[in-house]
Symmetry: C2
Subunit: 462 residues, 2 copies
């Protein structure tokens, strides 16, 4: 008999009324009474579990009564509509077969577990409601991103993870090697001889695909990356991981204003897509993770995004009549307390543009004032910075001067400069950390709880 997945069953239970179906799923609870009992089971294809009723007419009634939480079962039974009850239907079992047992000490019992405990069983936590919801949202949000860009003709490009370009600063990057690290070949001075390594020199895993992405934007106009990214940062906090996923779109013939148009349109599209395609999961997070989450997301879809220069932001902050922990400054980054105030002040997302050039990256276009650059950060209510981008310096002389000023080794990325040598043009791009987006979408406040198997300092299990 063909198995019916719960996702299909919940979508069409009315047309299946009184029909016999087969379900394979895991037991969430088993409430056995003298002459009948209830199993709630889930197969993970949707968030809502199914109620199965079994009774003493079944030859193995006693065995069924003893099936423990976590066991996998096959249920044959009839779909019975129950309009008078909370759930709209249930399945009356004609047979229940245990497929895989689960012992008494199964860690995921139907009770409240702390997130700290669940991190210690990261391979089992997807079986809980919270992580069913979070990882479904993660999956749907990833599809939303692909769907947004592909429907607009963007090229999805897989930029390389292994790289020899260490222009971001190689101390921020993991080194990789195929050498025997216990007995590596050595140079005369005792250092490791990487000329024997697989690529013939030192290699890293990258922190960004932007530079390679730009070369593709100079061929396809509109491109995006969506892949894993690595940082060696040794910081143990709620928002940093050593491995995370990033989206880096890059658009030719696009200036800073065009960039902000795209960021705003994309974010609204993704949120609406998730609200439409993971409504049960958002409702769950709204109830159990962050009250008001759904309204916050719906508000964002309908909100107007403010655009304001960094200089004007600092003016505002200085005149806000607030006693800041960190004094706002025209030369500095803005702090979390400022971000919170700003999105509240404007009652919506805020693009902060034209940042002091000295605190931004070397490839960003310097403005005519020679003090600021065409960079933009997007701040969103309740979360802070969600995306960072800029118009790129397309002028070769200006770019080379800036690289010299900032001690960027030109030799290693001469290929990158070809994007300015051969048919260069105004172009812009941004980066969005995917985990920040998932945290924003679910209300979950620790990055460890939105990554299937998080990698943070000292943590690399599984």
């Amino acid at each position: 008999m063909k198995r019916t997945k719960l996702r299909e069953l919940f979508a069409q239970y009315e047309s299946l009324a009184d029909q016999e179906i087969t379900i394979c799923a895991w037991v969430k609870t088993n409430r056995a009474q003298a002459k009948f009992g209830f199993l709630t089971v889930s197969d993970g294809t949707c968030l809502t579990p199914l109620q199965v009723v079994y009774d003493e007419a079944l030859s193995n009634f006693e065995d069924i009564s003893k099936i423990r939480v976590g066991a996998s079962v096959m249920v044959n039974g009839k779909v019975v509509l129950t309009p008078e009850m909370k759930q709209p239907f249930e399945v009356h079992a004609t047979s229940v077969t245990m497929l895989g047992d689960s012992p008494e000490n199964y860690p995921i019992q139907p009770k409240r577990h702390t997130r700290e405990f669940l991190r210690s069983v990261a391979h089992l936590r997807p079986r809980t409601n919270l992580f069913q919801a979070v990882f479904r949202v993660r999956s749907v949000a990833a599809m939303a991103i692909h769907s947004y860009f592909q429907s607009r003709g963007y090229l999805y490009v897989h930029t390389p993870l292994i790289t020899s370009a260490d222009c971001e600063g190689s101390d921020q990057m993991f080194k990789i090697t195929a050498l025997d690290v216990v007995n590596p070949p050595l140079n005369k001075d005792g250092s490791i001889d990487f000329s024997d390594d697989l690529f013939g020199h030192k290699a890293y895993i990258t922190g960004s695909g932007q530079l390679q992405g730009e070369t593709f934007a100079m061929a396809f106009s509109d491109i995006y990356t969506f892949g894993p990214t690595f940082r060696t940062e040794n910081s143990n906090n709620k928002t940093h991981a050593n491995e995370f996923w990033m989206i880096e779109p890059e658009m030719a013939f696009c200036d800073l204003n065009g960039l902000m148009d795209i960021e705003e349109e994309m974010l609204k599209y993704v949120i609406k897509y998730v609200l439409d395609n993971a409504s049960d999961e958002i409702a769950f997070c709204d109830q159990f993770v962050e009250k008001g989450l759904k309204a916050r997301l719906e508000n964002l879809v309908n909100s107007k995004f403010t655009r304001i220069k960094h200089h004007d932001v600092v003016d505002l902050l200085l005149n806000a009549g607030v006693k800041w922990e960190f004094q706002p400054s025209y030369e500095d980054d803005i702090q979390h307390e400022h971000e919170v105030w700003l999105t509240s002040h404007f009652n919506g997302p805020v693009f902060v543009t034209d940042w002091p050039k000295d605190i931004k990256a070397w490839y960003m276009k310097v403005n005519p004032d020679n003090a600021t650059c065409a960079a933009v950060d997007l701040l969103v209510p309740g979360s802070g910075e969600l995306m960072g981008g800029s118009q790129r310096e397309e002028n070769m002389e200006a770019l080379e001067a800036r690289m010299k000023e900032m001690n960027i080794n030109k030799d290693k990325i001469d290929w990158y400069l070809d994007t300015r040598r051969y048919g260069g043009c105004v172009h812009s791009g941004f980066g969005m950390g995917f985990e920040r987006l998932v945290m924003y979408l679910t209300g979950v406040d620790n990055i460890r709880d939105v990554i299937p198997f998080p990698r943070t300092p000292g943590q690399c299990e599984y």
Copy 2:
């Protein structure tokens, strides 16, 4: 004035007839005559270039005449339908402005370049027709894969790339470290002390997300991964790279036959999606890469996939009346010459099942004969193996015995065994190398030409 992308223009040129539009693009050719000239330009949003006509009425006619290949331009002009000509319309310029110059020695001139040369300018080759087509197919195929799985309720899971589980054999994996490799901390015996490293021990970048994927299948029923994968293999041939992308679906409550159903349905879906959404690119590859490509792909969509056991395959090969270079054997893998013969013999794709257990992986389900296992390779005409998968050994005792037999270190992946301890069930999965698929879709025969920036032994530029 709003820029019109060529993709939009070609989709709706009829409704834009006689209207003024603005185009930003790169010059492919410039044929200047005494009183007028023709630019063909492309912005990379579609494969077909646009013909722009300019004449001496333009004040900068002389300058336009001199614009070189590769330069970026902005063109204002009128859309003029040309039903009598090969291309259905052209743009008559009212102004042409050069945005970014391109020098005389621009490497991508409008002539035939060898693929070897183009590999040496991997950052510029996406500007050629061939790589416009190949990388567009790659992007569309990636979307097809997400679209197939998401529309069927599969969970997209980002399994970790950094791992400490070296059960695949750590000599196949890149080691990674955040330590200073020039002066690393040492143990007393002179070896590197990895307890000081970021994760507190040795770490690798992974060659597969399968094991972590299985833990998610035990929670969501149907999951897939789609991400980069790494091998240290030191082999320089047309089909291997050290960094490539892989799709690894894993399904609970699914046996070997169910697995083959999914593989077949998915492949047909993806090919049809690419035929529908990258028709120009497939037509280009059909004309310039592999004659008959389009028919080959269409045939596959309509073909019946054969299912045959490895033992029966060897019977067939031995009785084929062919003088094989490699003698077919009941104990061995089958060779490329056998694969070619098989797909030709069956006139379509062939699932070879029930392989000798000794040449397959430890997690595959051993058959009751204790000689073969429930593994399956999919062979496709003209290419050989495209996917490999198996039913997994769900029986804990059998799995542990097999691990012992094959010297798999149980301690490091005890978490994985929990998938059998707690509600285990029949489950199956497969892996598909994404580059193999793109090669199959485009007819391109070297893996270096379907990866934006390929990493192969000795090659890690850009």
